[in-house]
C-alpha cells in the first residue's frame, strides 16, 4: 500500500510529495492535467520579499529559493524580474509609489513553468511517482487508509494509501467531497482573465501597478505586472463576476479608458484565465487520514511561496502521522499562525478589508484628489497585499485636517477608516 497519495501537482502538492518521499514515504501524486509542468491558469503571483510575510522571510539564492524561517530550500533556475515599485494610479494618472529608497526589489516576478519543472525534477529524484492526466473522482476514509477512485484514459480504478493530501487549489471540490469544507459557504465566484501584451507604451516595467477608478473598471482595480514572456511584455489581470465577464472590461479598457493611448498598438501574445470559489479559510484543514493544504483550505490564495510552505509542513505532518504522532494537529497549529487570513474573527477581518478597499470606498474624483495628495512622496516598500491598503490610509490620514477643510463629504466617508486606525487595527 502507498504511504501517501496526493491530489494536485502544483507547488503545494509537489513540495509535500518531495518532503515526505525524502523521509522514506512511498508517495504518489495524481493530477487531472496532462502537462503539469505548464502553468495555464492565470497567476499574477510574485515572490514577495517582505520580511515576516506569512511568517517567513524569503531570500533568493543562487539557483534556489531559501525559506529562512521555515528552514527549507527549493530549486529555482528560471528567469527573475525585480519589482521595485508598487504603484497605485488614479483615473487622471496621479500615482502613489510604494518602494524602498534604495529601490531594492520588494518582490520578484518569476516563471511559474520553471518553478514547476524544478519541483517535478526534485520529486522524481526523491522517488515520487507522478501520474498526470488522472482525475480524482471520489473516495472514502476507511479509518486505517484512504481509498480514492480516479479516472484516466484507460478508465476508472481505485488507489489506496495510508494518508491523503488534498492540494487541488482554489475550488474545494475534493475538500468538500471529503467533508473538510463542511460549514463553509461559497461567497462568490470571481473570474480572472490575464492578457500578456507586447507593444504597450508608457507603462512602467519592474513594477506592480493597480489602476483604480470606474474609468478603468467598475468594481475592481486593473492589475498590471511584469512578465517573463519577453522583456517588452506586461501582464494585465482583469476581473469579472457573474455575467460581467472580464473580456468585455478589457475591450473597454483598450478602447475607451485613459489607457487607450498606451494600449493602441499593443499585441496580445498570451491569454490565461481562472475562476475560484471564494470561501473563508478552513481552520481545521484535516479529518481522519486526510489533510487539505495550500489554496484548497485557504481564503482565496496562499500565493506560490505560501503553497510551498504548506507543502513542506504538510509532507512533514504526514511523516509524523505515519509514525503515530499528531502531525495533522501540528500542521493545523502552524497553518492558523502563519497566514493573515487565519485570525480570530475572519468575518470581522473581511469587513475591515472591505471598508479600507480603495475602489469600493472612493469615487473617481476622490481617488484623484487623494492620490494627487500622496504623489511624489515615497511610501513604505512593503508588497504584502494586506499591508499596502493600510499603508495607503495611514499616509492619507496624515492629511486629515486638510481633507476635513477641503472635502468635508469625503472626510465623513472616511469615518470608518479613521475609527479602525484609532482602534489600532492598522
Amino acid at each position: 500500500m502507498l504511504d501517501l497519495l496526493i491530489i494536485g501537482a502544483g507547488p503545494a502538492g509537489l513540495l509535500a510529495a518531495y518532503t515526505a518521499a525524502k523521509k522514506g514515504a512511498k508517495t504518489l501524486v495524481v493530477d487531472m492535467k496532462r502537462d503539469i509542468h505548464i502553468a495555464r491558469r492565470a497567476c499574477s503571483a510574485q515572490f514577495v520579499l517582505d520580511e515576516g510575510y506569512e511568517g517567513e522571510t524569503l531570500k533568493i539564492g543562487d539557483g534556489k529559493l531559501v525559506f529562512t524561517k521555515n528552514g527549507f530550500e527549493v530549486p529555482y533556475t528560471g528567469k527573475l524580474v525585480p519589482i521595485q515599485h508598487n504603484y497605485m494610479i488614479s483615473p487622471k494618472g496621479y500615482t502613489v509609489d510604494f518602494s524602498y529608497e534604495d529601490l531594492r526589489p520588494t518582490a520578484m516576478k518569476f516563471d511559474k513553468n520553471a518553478l514547476l519543472e524544478g519541483l517535478l525534477k526534485q520529486c522524481e529524484e526523491a522517488g515520487v511517482e507522478i501520474r498526470p492526466g488522472t482525475m480524482a473522482l471520489k473516495g472514502t476514509d476507511t479509518g486505517s487508509s484512504v481509498k480514492l477512485l480516479v479516472k484516466d484514459d484507460s478508465g476508472e480504478y481505485e488507489l489506496e494509501a495510508r494518508k491523503l493530501i488534498i492540494a487541488e487549489g482554489v475550488n474545494r471540490k475534493l475538500t468538500t467531497l471529503f467533508g473538510i469544507n463542511k460549514g463553509y459557504q461559497c461567497m462568490g465566484i470571481p473570474l480572472t482573465y490575464e492578457y500578456t501584451l507586447e507593444g504597450t507604451r508608457g507603462i512602467p516595467h519592474n513594477s506592480w501597478i493597480q489602476y483604480y477608478g470606474d474609468v478603468y473598471h467598475p468594481f475592481m482595480e486593473i492589475m498590471v505586472g511584469e512578465s517573463t514572456y519577453s522583456d517588452d511584455a506586461l501582464e494585465f489581470t482583469i476581473m469579472g463576476i457573474g455575467d460581467q465577464k472580464p473580456k468585455a472590461f478589457f475591450e473597454k479598457l483598450r478602447t475607451m479608458s485613459p489607457l487607450a493611448e498606451n494600449l493602441k498598438d499593443a499585441r496580445i501574445v498570451e491569454k490565461k484565465g481562472c475562476a475560484c470559489r471564494n470561501y473563508l479559510s478552513i481552520t481545521k484543514p484535516y479529518a481522519g487520514n486526510i489533510l487539505a493544504i495550500g489554496d484548497s483550505a485557504a481564503h482565496i490564495e496562499v500565493i506560490n511561496q505560501g503553497a510551498m510552505m504548506c507543502g513542506f509542513h504538510g509532507g512533514n505532518a504526514v511523516v509524523k502521522e505515519l509514525d503515530g504522532k499528531p502531525g495533522f494537529e501540528d500542521y493545523s497549529r502552524w497553518w492558523n499562525d502563519a497566514f493573515e487570513f487565519n485570525c480570530e474573527d475572519p468575518a470581522e477581518q473581511l469587513k475591515m478589508y472591505g471598508a479600507i478597499n480603495i475602489k469600493r470606498t472612493l469615487a473617481d474624483d476622490e481617488i484623484d484628489y487623494l492620490f494627487a495628495m500622496l504623489e511624489g512622496g515615497q511610501h513604505s516598500g512593503h508588497f504584502n497585499q494586506y499591508e499596502v491598503p493600510k499603508n495607503f490610509w495611514t499616509a492619507v490620514l496624515k492629511h486629515d485636517a486638510e481633507i476635513k477643510e477641503e472635502r468635508p463629504a469625503l472626510y465623513e466617508k472616511m469615518a470608518a477608516i479613521r475609527s479602525y486606525k484609532a482602534q489600532g487595527k492598522f
Binding site: M32, K33, R34, D35, I38, R40, R41, A42, G133, M135, L137, K151, E168, G169, N171, K173, I189, L191, T192, Y193, G240, G242, K245, P246, K247, K271, K272, G273, C274, A275
Partner: protein
C-alpha cells in the same frame, strides 16, 4: 444534451474543477473537452469559464 468548449479555451482547467460529474478533461492539445456521455447539462462549467468558451451544443437552447 451537452456543453461544448470552443477554441476560445485557454486551457486553465477551471471547467474541469467545477464539473460535478468529472466529465471534463484535458485533451492532448492542452485544451479541455466535455465528454457528452457524462455531461448533465448543469451549466456549472459555463458560468465559471473566465474565457467565455463554453456554450450549449448547437441546436440546444
Amino acid at each position: 444534451m451537452a456543453r461544448r468548449i470552443s477554441d476560445e479555451c485557454v486551457g486553465c482547467g477551471t471547467c474541469a474543477a467545477f464539473c460535478p460529474k468529472g466529465a471534463i478533461s484535458q485533451a492532448v492539445t492542452g485544451y479541455y473537452v466535455v465528454d457528452p456521455e457524462g455531461c448533465i447539462d448543469c451549466g456549472s462549467c459555463e458560468k465559471a469559464c473566465p474565457a467565455e468558451a463554453i456554450a450549449p451544443e448547437e441546436g440546444q437552447a
